[in-house]
Amino acid sequence: MSGMAKTNGLAICLAALLAGCELVEPVERRICAGEEPQVSPDERQIVFQQLRNGSYDVGVRELATGAVRWVSEGPGDAIHPTWAPDGSVIFTFGHETETALAAHRKKVETGWNLYRWKDGRTEQLTKGRFRDYAPSVTTDGKTLYFASTRAEAQTGLRSERVQMFRMALAAGAKPERVWGPDNVCSAAAVSPQLSPDGRLLLWAGADGATDVWHVRVSRVEKPELAADLTPPTMYAYSPKWSPSGRRIAFAAVTPDFPDWGVWTADPQKGELVRVAEGTNPSWTPDGRSLVYDRDGAVWMKPLNGSFPRLAMTDDSDRAPSQVVFRVENPALESVHPLPKEAAFGSDDFYLKVKYRLDKPTKDLQLLVKMQYQKDTVAVVMLEKDTRPTFGVRHDDDTYAPLDSVHRVAGGRDHVLVGYRSGDAVYLSIDGGAPEKLMFTHRTLDYREPVSLTVGEKCACSVSLVEVGRGRPKEFPASPGLDELFGREVRK
């Protein structure tokens, strides 16, 4: 749902480039070879991952002396280290000793799991044939957030999906799913981190193979309603809260800065600042510098200079939707003229149908079809196994419907709401969380409306059909940055 912010909800526009003509950037300092650096809470050490002899190890370097202790060594890869407030290091470790098929057949219980290292001792925090990665620890040290594939089945061919989890920071604690994209291939919510005040959740999300990664923020209790902190044309990932919770650092590229850069966002000032070339930034505990990686080395740069910056503006569209067509209790196979207001072009629109399927059927049920001059462009139907489908046509003449993962029981009323927004379609069943499908092509412009057909080839009863412009009320808008940051973080 958060992805809707990209196109019609909360959008952040690039308003200005390069605020100053003369930029005096502070000098960066190379710390050591490595990646994914983080400075310890006591500011005396830095943890990082490093490629050594063909695999990754995690090391802890004393900033004063340069001495390094290796948290992990030998076979297997240790990656994505992060500090807990008590000075322990949490990281992901994986060591594949079996081939994929052998591991599957033997029901191997290890994958890429989370570990804690403290005072020279290592303990395993998570188990299972999953990828648990990109962890963070809450400021109170009690809870661990991480990204994982653990909600996904191990069968099937090619699904790619990652969701956010949390658990008490203790061995044997049970991970709990926080949120993540459902029924969307190649979609993910990665690098979750709770704000220092515990109110907001931050992560990087992508909603499909062709979607760029966005830095997203939500209230912790409503992760399904997230605001995109980064603009649609910016690819941004690996976000980290500043110690004060006022700013966020992340790695990104934009059309004007097409190489990997370390950026900060200051939602209260409304600006995005490009600090350095690099990726995987994190803050020093005093919030005055960033550490990051570039070309296999760890760098540190103070923030007390001038940098290229972009302005953020919140132009969230919270206008109510507008009904352009509505019919109650239409006869099956009835054809209704569509008004000219249904010429949506590339704007957002929705199609709602309330129906009842009295008995399961093996045939496809076409509930509603919207006909335009050029083609049939939007339909809601039930597949043979009663899974609802909503589809629109694309400008390459293909028709790619969103097939729900849910089957809908017969014998009672159901409400399906299909929503087209930008390059994606959504489907909500009975007010439930919308499913989403993104496309590689633009969807067709909807011009010259002709007619709407109800219940063609359908053994059901339809009690309501509604078509409207904009976001339907079943799809609540994401909160704006003013709501998320102005009232909460600022105080």
Binding site: G54, A100, Q154, S159
Partner: protein, 392 residues
């Protein structure tokens, strides 16, 4: 040495059988049946392929842009290394999502090449550009490291991790990977744009293409509609340049080009949807073979319309290079396979396949292509028919 061995193998195979039967193989798709990360699993896979009667196996070299050999170019000078979890890739939790086919031991391509030799098949590549299966997990390391080359649509969106060949640097990179892959001794490389959606002119609104447009069409705005024939013609130059460089680097190996969705109306899918003019490439001698991957027949008269499509291809090629016709197992969208012809014509599958074989030979085709050979998708009787077929 590997190259020399491959060339010797080709000449033997081609002499032995003038009507080639070519299997396109995505070894990845055998992961559920055989342990394809082992030499034994690869042996089982290639033996399964050989049972189809194929005298040539063209295997996929990459999944997405992740190549299936320890490439120094792809992995930044670190052969046989792929970072375990990059936060920009989205992992798959399926068992297949744990495969690593770019290890040094066993070397996937070297092992497959040896197995082909042992099984009497000549070895080549189905070069599917940046195909879209496991489309995030398989993003190439080089592509991720170079976001400035990513594909872009006219209205702004990037296709993250997919690089456009309109950038000369991208062609240079791909050619370096190609050169590395050639050391395994393939005799044939089938270039397939169909599986690469990021290869569409829609996604080539990148700086070099736009700058070139402005230079070549002063005063003319860049077409906002990627279907615009002028934009497709413009983008064609980059795709053709890539093929030209592949051909130049291929030496005596054959470069084939796959064409899709051929119909009686002459719809040119490859040109309109991928910015590649196969007829122009044939005329220019830049390809050594045309592989018809699929046709779209008129179901009112399926056999005669299929044959008319075949004849149309032969006319267009006009003897400049060999042409291979499909014996296709799968039906995908409107691209019919054996099963669809069975359903539409009422013939049995063996009869359908026999017709495909005879038709390919009748029109002067150089052979057939099985697109694609997965586990048991060609039944035993079909395999026997293919194996036994010899043009009259």
């Amino acid at each position: 040495m590997r190259t020399l061995f491959g060339c010797l193998l080709v000449s033997c195979a081609l002499t032995a059988n003038a009507f080639e039967k070519v299997a396109l193989v995505d070894i990845h798709d055998f992961w559920w049946q055989y342990d394809i990360e082992t030499v034994e699993g690869l042996r089982q896979t290639m033996e399964h392929v050989a049972k189809t009667g194929a005298d040539s196996a063209l295997v996929r070299v990459q999944l997405g842009a992740s190549v299936r050999f320890p490439s120094r170019e792809e992995f930044d000078g670190q052969p046989s290394f792929d970072p375990p979890i990059d936060k920009r890739r989205i992992p798959s939790n399926t068992a297949g999502g744990w495969l690593r086919l770019n290890r040094k031991e066993p070397d996937h391509l070297a092992t497959t090449a040896k197995l082909c030799a042992r099984l009497g098949m000549h070895f080549g590549y189905h070069w599917s550009m940046e195909e879209n299966h496991l489309s995030s997990w398989s993003l190439g390391g080089w592509n991720l490291a170079h976001p400035r080359y990513w594909c872009r649509r006219f209205d702004g969106p990037l296709w993250p991790g997919r690089a456009s060949v309109a950038w000369p640097e991208v062609i240079d990179h791909k050619i370096k990977v190609f050169d590395e892959a050639l050391t395994y001794g393939p005799d044939t490389v089938l270039v397939d744009f169909y599986r690469c959606h990021a290869g569409e002119p829609e996604w080539d609104y990148v700086k070099p293409a736009i700058d070139d447009w402005k230079r070549l069409h002063p005063g003319e705005p860049v077409p906002s509609d990627w279907h615009d024939a002028r934009w497709i013609r413009h983008i064609k130059r980059y795709h053709h340049e890539f093929l030209r460089q592949m051909k130049a680097h291929a030496g005596n190996r054959r470069i084939w080009l796959g064409v899709d969705y051929l119909d009686e109306k002459g719809t040119d899918y490859l040109l309109n949807r991928r910015g590649v003019d196969w007829r122009e490439l044939v005329r220019g001698g830049l390809v050594d073979g045309i592989v018809v991957m699929s046709v779209v027949p008129n179901w009112n008269d399926p056999w005669r319309s299929t044959k008319r499509i075949y004849e149309g291809v032969m006319r267009d090629v006009a003897g400049r290079c060999p042409v291979y016709f499909p014996v296709k197992a799968y039906t995908a969208t409107i691209r019919p396979g054996i099963g669809e012809y069975v359903k539409r014509t009422g013939l049995g599958e063996v009869d359908v396949v026999r017709r495909f074989l005879e038709m390919a030979a009748d029109v002067g085709g150089a052979g057939i292509v099985m697109e694609c050979v997965d586990y048991k998708v060609y039944s035993d009787p079909v395999c026997e028919t293919i194996k036994a077929f010899s043009p009259k």
